[in-house]
């Protein structure tokens, strides 16, 4: 297979991945704006207030044509003063299934406590005050899926009031990769910045494995259009 063909195929996959990530961040900007509005009143919002985000969250989950195919989306507060710890998170279990609320265990004394404030997706956006792309990782106590989480901080009057996040399953990147590739003449691997495999079209590179020792014949680093810090993903053609 000639060099230029490999590069062209990698470019096609990269564009598809970048489109999906951009689409997801666009959705997160909507959630962020809506969440910020809840803090606009004189009193700090109570837990019940965040239920007003539901129509927006459900609408973003139930997008037609599964694009950008968001598996879960929501908002977590930065508890401060009267603002309680709270996760307004909704999920759709696959195309066509109705969206539902995800009840995270927010009791710190419970063995199954979901410490969202210390989750990488939350803390990198909140303390770094920047967009974040984290994963893939096993989301224990949350969805229990193998997940990539995109997140943005919600800033109100100069303070980070919370973080809006969206989950994309690692598995859904395979569909995107196979569609954009259009051929199985060579092996392509999508990895995160730590060489962890997000998706591939080959059993030689398993999702979750590390592609540290890969000797790619062509590679491409996805542009970081979203200011997400050190999260540029890579595409490798390994045969």
């Amino acid at each position: 297979m000639a060099e230029p063909d490999r590069q062209a195929n990698l470019d096609a996959v990269a564009r598809a991945v970048e489109r999906r990530i951009s689409g997801t961040f666009a959705a997160l900007r909507e959630v962020s704006a809506a969440a910020a509005e809840l803090f606009g009143g004189s009193a700090a919002p109570a837990k019940a207030e965040f239920a007003r985000l539901q129509p927006l969250l459900v609408g973003l989950l139930e997008q037609p044509a599964g694009d950008p195919d968001i598996a879960g989306i929501g908002f977590g507060t930065v508890p401060r003063g009267p603002v309680p710890p709270w996760m307004e998170w909704w999920r759709a279990d696959g195309a066509g299934a109705p969206a539902h609320f995800v009840a995270h265990n927010l009791n710190p004394h419970n063995d199954n406590f979901y410490d969202y404030q210390h989750g990488d997706w939350f803390s990198s956006a909140a303390s770094g005050r920047r967009s974040s792309v984290f994963g893939p990782y096993v989301d224990t106590g949350g969805t229990n899926d193998y997940t990539v989480t995109l997140s943005v901080p919600v800033v109100v009057s100069g303070e980070v009031a919370g973080v809006a996040g969206a989950d994309l399953t690692a598995g859904s990147f395979e569909r995107l990769l196979l569609r954009a590739l259009g051929s199985r003449d060579f092996e392509v691997v999508l990895t995160n910045s730590r060489t962890r495999v997000i998706a591939s079209n080959t059993p030689h590179w398993l999702t979750g494995g590390l592609a540290r020792r890969a000797a790619p014949l062509a590679e491409l680093t996805l542009a970081d259009h979203w200011g997400a810090g050190e999260t540029p993903w890579r595409l490798l053609a390994t045969s």
Binding site: K47, A48, A51, Q54, P84, P85, W86, H100, F101, A103, H104, N105, L106, N107, H109, N110, D111, N112, P136, Y137, V138, D139, T140, G141, N144, D145, Y146, R194, R196, T207, G208, G209, L210
Partner: protein, 244 residues
Amino acid sequence: MTSLAAYLRLPGESTSSRAELVVGQLESAIAVGLISHGERLPPESDLAAQLGVSIGSLRQALTVLREKGVILTRPGRNGGSVVSDATDVPDRLVVDRLRNTPAEHLRDLGDLRASVSASAARLAADRGTEPEVDRLADLAERLARATTRGSARRVDSRFHIELGVVAQSPRLTLEIVRCQGELAPLRWAPVAGLPEPAVPARRHLQVVEMIRRGDGAGAHAVAVAHCEAETRALIDAHFTLAEG
């Protein structure tokens, strides 16, 4: 209190009775923080309406929750049900369970736990990155420093669960969560003879060392040996209680 119905999905088909479902939903609501500790539950008719169940089913569920110590009920005009502050299962119930669970059940549970934890350790050696292994080491060290049974139990379980996470395995992690849920309260029961935190902490650190070196077979072997030793100690404690 906001309507619980919007937040708690009623499964379409279930073999559990209505009351059991309500127990699960209320425990869930408390865990999520929809109902806080010390908060009073709404009047029975309101609560039954919100959950979409009969008062009879609700009352059955409240009885179970009272027995579990999840809610406290004061009789009389100013009475009502309040969510209690105690979140751990009462010691008495854990000791009873350890006394009454046959050794065969404990062995079977221990076998499964050894299998899933050791498999996760093996995969973690292959797939773990430096920061992930550091997190495991930190959990092992925190177990060594644990001063209460509750904190030891929590950090011990978190270590096993984290093995599944570092293994990048959602299914193994889920199974480990289930095993730990059943085993951990018994393993950390307030009875004499069960190993102090320093003992499992040492084993955990050995597993971490193997994972850091990328030695999957070694990590698996140490994890199996550790889990088997814990199973034996648990069965020993069971017999001490059963014969006493």
